[in-house]
Amino acid sequence: MRKILAAGLVTLSLTALATAEPVKVGLITTLSGGGAGLGVDVRDGFMLALKLNPDGAKDITVVAEDDAMKPELAVQIADKMIQSEQVDVLTGIIWSNLAMAVVPNAVAQDKFYLSPNAGPSPLAGDKCNANYFNVAYQNDNFHEAAGQYAQQSGLKKVFIMAPNYPAGTDSLNGFKRYYKGELAGEVYTKLGQTDYAAEIAQIRASGADSVFFFLPGGMGIAFVKQYAQSGVGTPLIGPGFSFDQDVLAAIGDPALGAKNTASWSPDLDNPANKAFVDEFKKAYNRLPSVYAAQAYDTANLLISASTKASVKDAEAFRAALKAAEFNSVRGKFKFNTNNHPIQDLYVREVVKDGDTLTNKIIATAFTDHGDAYAEKCAMK
């Protein structure tokens, strides 16, 4: 039994309109192991959008499978979906290294790839592709917004820290692209590190006025807990990933007051977002994360394109995607020349809503922000 999460009937009727061509979607995401929380949110956000729009989604079928966070397995599943299931569109991947493994192969075989998360810089720059659409962000974006916020709010001496791997160096470079003040310290930690006592002692000794850190997943949870216990009071700034809904419950009150940057927030004031947050809570009994929001937008983008053009007509379908005529939960959304978003980026603060920790927008870091790699992309 293939896990077919069908959304509505697939109409094979010959009388159907040309635009009602069935679209088969392969959703590859992380549903097991330590990173499963993010993958579950992506899948749930994606499926929710299809469920809420039965008319638009009636010709869309989804096959979902677990990549276990292994690039080789993700490639194998992508091959299977393309060769056996004959999917037209792939989506779902959380991690940059898995995206780098799957995306170039998929678009080389003339499939579409819509990214609900992960935007490694090569795919935004010289390896950009007309069939690859990133509906989330370019990897540097949230970090750039944090740098911009630090600059705007007059911080003078920031301590910056990230794990020692490409996403980590990209993060600190993105931050430094907009923050021009002095650095109290620049530290790279080991990927997967769990104890941060030594780094916290360095922070205390550095005399920093703020700490910017990017530590995804369990690393960030561990750091913030230990930081709070150490009693070092220097304010924390992070990209949205460090303080999003998937980790806030585990960090608990130490997260309160932390500033973080993202393209979306549950309190973002527009009708599409209100509907999304309400329906997500109703369907899954928890607040959505930014990953769920991005996946929800991805599905709605797909619906908007599939009602306008047939997926078999690649050129028309591409144009329909590029037009991005859907109601984004981020308010406004459009694609840059390199098929990456031009969007607003917000500064959020962790607050308590009743008993639940969540985020609230306190400022806008960028309006209509693109990315630094678009000019390296050959598409104009």
Binding site: M1, R2, K3, L31, S32, G33, A64, E65, D66, A68, K70, P71, E72, L73, V75, Q76, I77, D79, K80, Q83, S84, S96, N97, M100, A101, P104, N105, A108, P120, K127, N164, Y165, P166, A167, T169, Y188, K190, L191
Partner: protein, 322 residues
């Protein structure tokens, strides 16, 4: 003909014929799956020289697998960008990638082997892991070839007379390597060198008493084993058109060991049987449920508890060499 030989021939013929039957019947993906099986089997045959014949349980063979993978990836990317590698214009060809991978893995194996082989038992398991972890952390943080993000291969390296972009050609190349490597393993096992290697595993004291030094024999076996696994790594990168540090991770080393134990330690086609079952289970269960790892674990446990000689033990009876 012994029962083991019959089982071996049936297995190999099945692996060769089934993907073509499936392709003709409109299931082209099984070709990719069969290629994966063949390549993992090559890697495991390589490890089987050290582990099965020499009793050297290397928990770091992912290092050699990954080195081979990076050899293929680096050559492809340099050729793609028209850049020289260390001052040479290296052709984007698979045999060249294998050669470079084997050389690099062989060198690393000599250095690490000289140190590791002074230890034995669990200490050997862990010191090989330590060396692999060093290479893993180096690969993650070294930015030149993508670090943790890995390196995509836009166009596969070429092989004379084959179109490597076509799945069936890639499969045939992989299968041919598997046959060569199996033949090599079989001849090696029954050679004087192989006899000495196995004798050193079974009774070190006796071997030393008849004037054979076990250390150099083990070192040669370890290096040969690393070089074969590197070729498999190069092919694995070609198959995925991608190489990343996850090929170097300790879980990969663990999986290679699992393939061998599953199939039957020291058996010629044991790794083939192990790769076959592991890939089928992973594929089939993964399509069935997102909890596939749970059921994979249960099945592996059942095999180890109820079939001590691995699958070959189950199918072909007790091994002749035990």
């Amino acid at each position: 003909m012994t029962r083991e030989n019959v089982v071996s021939i049936v297995l190999l013929c099945g692996l060769l014929i089934l993907p073509f039957v499936a392709q003709a019947a409109g299931y082209p993906f099984y070709m990719t799956l069969a290629t994966r099986m063949a390549i993992l089997a090559v890697a495991a045959v390589g490890l089987n020289i050290a582990l099965g014949l020499g009793g050297l349980v290397s928990f770091g063979h992912a290092a050699f697998f990954g080195i081979g993978g990076y050899a293929a990836g680096v050559i492809a990317s340099h050729a793609m960008n028209g850049e020289h590698l260390l001052g040479f214009a290296v052709p984007a060809s698979m045999p060249v990638a294998w050669l470079i991978g084997m050389l690099a893995a062989g060198l690393v194996a000599i250095v690490t082997g000289l140190i590791s082989l002074r230890t034995s038992g669990v200490y050997f398991i862990m010191i090989t892991l330590a060396f692999a972890q060093m290479i893993y952390y180096f690969a993650i943080s070294w930015p030149a070839y993508g670090g943790e993000d890995g390196l995509s291969i836009a166009m596969r390296n070429s092989f004379p007379g084959a179109n490597t972009a076509r799945p069936s050609d890639l499969f045939l190349v992989s299968f041919a390597i598997l046959l060569v490597v199996l033949l090599f393993f079989w001849r090696l096992r029954d050679s004087r060198f192989g006899a000495a290697l196995q004798a050193a595993r079974q009774n070190e004291g006796r071997v030393a008493a008849v004037g054979i030094e076990p250390f150099p024999i083990r070192l040669v076996a370890f290096v040969l084993s690393a070089m074969i696994t590197a070729v498999a790594g190069a092919m694995y990168a070609e198959l995925n058109r991608f190489v990343s540090p996850s090929m170097l991770s300790w879980t990969m080393s663990g999986e290679l060991i699992v393939l061998i134990i599953l199939g039957g330690v020291g058996r010629v086609v044991g790794p083939v049987a192990g790769a076959f079952v592991f890939v089928v289970l992973e594929y089939w269960l993964g399509g069935l449920t997102e909890r596939w790892q749970f059921f994979l674990g249960l099945m592996l446990l059942a095999i180890v508890l109820f079939s001590p000689g691995g699958l070959m033990g189950l199918l072909a009876g007790k091994a002749r060499h035990d």
